[in-house]
Symmetry: none
Subunit: 230 residues, 2 copies
DNA sequence: TTCACCTGTTACATATCCGTCGCATATGCG
DNA sequence: CGCATATGCGACGGATATGTAACAGGTGAA
């Protein structure tokens, strides 16, 4: 990771408005952002900045995102950098081609900014398992995404799949309040239509699971806003 | 959207039955809906109502949806408003043309109302992402929108949802005097029928909350004008 | 098949908050 | 000073958000 501790992201997107919004959010999330609005600049900046991850728009003038992706994945010294592709509207063909060229993940516009950043963090964790991030910790709760296990005060907790994903999401940004809609997006998925009250039920179940061996309730309800950890 | 109120949607659809159903559902989902049944009215209402998002029928008498979309995307002050196009025809040609004219998303009739609203929410999140990373401060009051927490002299304050939104609004421009009407607009939402005296009551409650552990009253009453911070 | 487990929805109880009213108090003005 | 109006604030009935048990399916393993 970058010298200063912040993960470096190279953001390549030709549409200024979208790029600005994304850059703003990435910086707010603790990324060091380098921007490019075309593929040629991007290729140069990859060498100059040595980003930890690349977010790449599919459609761009001159050198397209696909082409940039393909080239980077051919060079041994850049192959290891995770690439997340952005694309407008999802023909299945595109999705396949995107992954075929070696992209590590693929996000369809319009995307949830939250989700995009969650995926970026996931990619970073995948590539950089040595750094902090393998195991999420918050107070006496420890979560190992690898083994899918959750501990509290050294006891192994048993939770269902949805509870687990919910906890992962909350633990990735302790303190941050997630609205029910955001949680539906992040945990259930963007195109799943489920009543928002379902979130309440699962939060309740997660709470019970987290407290099955005692301990305080680590989940905070923020009336009118959502839930957060701590 | 105002700072805390409902997101405003402009619904443009010439077929009354469809428009009514959609409006009903959008309102049930917490949107403030303005309706138009033709492109000309729509253009006017965009300026008058400043919607956060526009749902636009493709086929309409006089000025078509495509045309409205094209015009709006040409004007800098309206370009940022997300537009979701509705169309009865699903030919690929249309899809392409729809996105080419600058629409941000595209839904083909017959559509699932749930899906349409999920997409509307997705667009809103994209354009107006949460106020991330910014911590508002004024004298010894600190407000973190992300964690939804308010501190005064390092103690955590407990305030209700409306008090919170009110404080956010005031803290975003310390010193500025907000009239009761402006506060109703910004905190409660545009077309909410509420007595202006309600603002007084909530300012009172906010004051009490801010002083629950002592300290001076940070809210200034400007007789005949409104309230401000500091 | 049965069984154990998980899921999303519903219904209801409860806690919390909201908006309004009434009256007290403060302010400005002639 | 006395009056008119603006603001402060306690109290109350009702609205709304949340917690949670119960239920009816769904899934996959044995």
């Amino acid at each position: 990771m970058g010298k200063g501790g912040q993960p470096r992201v190279l953001l390549v997107e030709d549409e200024p408005a979208q790029r600005t919004v994304l850059a703003y959010n990435l910086e707010a999330e603790g990324f060091a952002v380098t921007q490019a609005d075309n593929g040629e600049d991007a290729m140069v900046l990859v060498d100059e900045e040595e980003p930890d991850i690349i977010i790449l728009d599919w459609m761009m003038p001159k050198v397209s995102g696909i082409e940039v992706c393909r080239r980077l994945k051919m060079r041994p010294e850049t192959r290891g950098i995770p690439i997340i592709m952005l694309s407008a509207r999802a023909e299945e063909v595109d999705r396949v081609r995107g992954l075929e060229t070696g992209a590590d993940d693929y996000v369809v516009k319009p995307y949830s900014v939250l989700e995009l950043m969650a995926r970026a963090r996931a990619q970073l964790r995948r590539v950089r398992p040595s750094t902090a991030g393998v195991v999420l910790e918050h107070e006496d709760i420890r979560l190992d995404p690898e083994s899918h296990r959750v501990y509290r005060a050294d006891k192994v907790l048993k939770l269902g799949p949805t509870e687990f994903k919910l906890l992962v999401t909350l633990m990735e940004r302790p303190g941050r309040v997630f609205s029910r809609e955001q949680l539906l997006d992040l945990v259930w998925g963007r195109d799943i239509y489920v009543d928002t009250r379902t979130v309440d039920v699962h939060v309740g179940r997660l709470r019970k699971s987290l407290m099955q061996f005692g301990g305080a309730d680590p989940v905070r309800t923020v009336r009118g806003a959502g839930y957060s950890l701590g």
